[in-house]
Symmetry: C2
Subunit: 497 residues, 2 copies
Amino acid sequence: MTEAYARYRERMSEIQALNSALSLLSWDQETLMPPRGLASRSTTRAALAGLVHDRATDPALGALLEGLAGTGQDAAAAANVRESLRDYRRAVRVPRDLVTELAETTTLAQQAWAEARTRNEWPLFAPLLGRIVGLKRREAEALGYRDEPYDALLDEYEPGARAADLARIFAEVRTALVPLVEAARRDPADRGEDLLRGGLPVAGQDALGRHILKDLGFDLEGGRLDLSAHPFSTQIAPGDVRLTTHYDADDLQKSLYSTIHEAGHGMYEQGLPADQVGLPLGEAVSLGVHESQSRLWENQIGRSRAFMSYLLPLLRRHFPGRFDGVAPEQLDRAVNVVRPSAIRIEADEVTYTLHIVLRMELERALLRGEIDVADLPSLWNERMRADLGVVPADDAEGVLQDIHWSFGLFGYFPTYALGNLYAAELHLAAKRDLPGLDDEVARGDFLPLLTWLRERIHRHGRELAPRELVHAATGREPGAGPYLDYLRAKFGALYAV
Amino acid sequence: MTEAYARYRERMSEIQALNSALSLLSWDQETLMPPRGLASRSTTRAALAGLVHDRATDPALGALLEGLAGTGQDAAAAANVRESLRDYRRAVRVPRDLVTELAETTTLAQQAWAEARTRNEWPLFAPLLGRIVGLKRREAEALGYRDEPYDALLDEYEPGARAADLARIFAEVRTALVPLVEAARRDPADRGEDLLRGGLPVAGQDALGRHILKDLGFDLEGGRLDLSAHPFSTQIAPGDVRLTTHYDADDLQKSLYSTIHEAGHGMYEQGLPADQVGLPLGEAVSLGVHESQSRLWENQIGRSRAFMSYLLPLLRRHFPGRFDGVAPEQLDRAVNVVRPSAIRIEADEVTYTLHIVLRMELERALLRGEIDVADLPSLWNERMRADLGVVPADDAEGVLQDIHWSFGLFGYFPTYALGNLYAAELHLAAKRDLPGLDDEVARGDFLPLLTWLRERIHRHGRELAPRELVHAATGREPGAGPYLDYLRAKFGALYAV
């Protein structure tokens, strides 16, 4: 290791320490912090975020990285330098006054959004959203792009992704899914969902969740499971990856699938190389790939027929008497229901991506200046009717439902859909490489799949661009095919479509 | 507020943010952190501590403070500048190589101490303790002192305290207490301690503890109660003060009194002026005064006859059936037992201070070079026999029992004894100012006392030196008198002495 590379690692390790503290401050705020701690916590987080920003944009770091780039390091060091230089150049392109203005505007916007949603008054939020769109356009210009401003924003969450490519793939998805949704909606059969509804004690749900976490391979000696209003996962540091869930005694599916979903995220974090902590090779490659991990475990595995054979005995153990006489097929039906909803976070496997495609198209058009913030409510509702056959009762369950835009997150939603697509790509390839996968899942042996994911995805960190990583893992150019085939096969069997 | 003062506040607020993150990292480590998180957590904490140290010793901060000192600010600003300058000058006096050597040596010493205690092998720890004593002598020389090196170390925890003064007061305490202990030991009466031993469900202990916290005035909307191996309290930030306790179904006294003790610490932190956060006026004045708050609530209040009238109905509520037919007098006897033990943390109200006096005398003699580390085990055991009539079975329960020296904490123990003395001083003055105090305690109305403490102690932060603060609160020069009178009166009534 050269002396310059050592100095680079030292700088990165200081940033890592600050980020680790920030992760804990955020996690704690969502899980345990007493209510009166909020004001101080915001101040503390802002101060630490400022210290991180100063370090990440320090010209001395830039000079060090420029000096290191292209010198004859080993492949790992070269990848770290390449990606850190990429991060540095992105960070310094955005002028400080724009960073400040975005922070101030989004702070106001978050409050305005919360009030607008509670009171169902879109005009309370619209002007601030308009300002945010303007600022994001300026940010995109500052960051630079080849084809269109949206690409510059996408690149933050999904390095190298381009709006035009995504739009093409998403159009294919939409064309295929809209009729599938329509057909499923016409199927009048009872799905037997009551099986997992009502009178399911929280203690049993918690024990079940922990049991499954352990079986899946989430290391609880190197992580935790706690409660929060909205489930999330976060890596505090290597050896400390935390998941949250949320229990509702009337609804087992919520906690069951949010726990499995977050475990997918958490196992990705636990599989990143610990010796590269704080460096790009120790980081997740993109939000899309991150979401592919959560979705694969949640849907391709957790909602598979094979998983029901594994799950049923556990349900019987943790809810004595409740699941006597139930067959795996009944579970399979109950957890695979297509039912269009106005609300994204309540969406099923088939309709979810349609919610995302709608959002991305609106964001892209806003950034291009083709539509105005004032047009959003009606465009939203029209598209919901066209794609899902559902019209939101009001703006609160329509255009105001998501918090993301109030945070200035544009280009973020598409990563959810990419996650669905990548999950299907990876699952297909894993089934090819692991011919016994279904049997293994049925008997609760998840190690072969986890090992495959560790090898193909987790251990690589940011070695390759996300799309190239998935390509290398599967041997094929990622697209919509496996995702659509998977949905057609699964719901074709379960529904009269 | 002048521009220079604003810059000072800004610097302090950055340090505060880092310290707040450090507090959360420590709290989390003791309560929730998964085991595999330890290595990363140590790295993160060390990095943040380094950032704090850099800022606290930044010559630019020193210059700013020197410039501000003596300029015509208001009294609060002047007090902040005076105390910050004091902290700055102390911090820069210790050379960096000594700081590093102490950190490295104490890290090794902590491991060696743990092993030495487990294996009961003093020689595993003695050489490292010898090195630590040498380093602490160097630290004392670097810090400077008027009379003796020990004063320089004491000053870190109890600003302005002098070894000679403490030694004089502690000698008086010892002269008075040794016969009291001796007499109590000869009293053969059963103390009825089984009342609070065995079969006390943890859920009941937890509910009882939270009930009492609320009644005492600890704000659970601005704080938490959690579990840890050793109870402690910490302020993460204003509005976020956390206590921990430890439950043992066979021993109610442990959790009951550790919860009340930590609540005393916590209410002090909650009573510090939030608008002075990160500045000396927003900080506790000393460890001795801090301990006076915990001890006053734990002992003068929590083990008083009046408190038993309050406690008994709660015990009946949280442990149905268990306390039927029990009288407050029986509780009073059971929680006020004098029983010399070799172990400090198991010590009762009367013997506790004697454990401390022993430690301070040994520390002081080591720093003066009058004794050698090799002499410690025999000196320790002789003194235990002389003062408490107890001889430790081995070094593990003798000279190796405390972790403090392995951390380099010399001059720290005396603050525990000062806490006991100050608690008695404050209690005496509070009783004078609040003639109905006993009745209020008996009916669970703790607000008058808390208000008195807020007014006399909490709200002042570091406005006065600790001894002057207690003097101002009570109207008398602090000494051993009230403490000894309190113990004689209480145990005179309970024991045949």
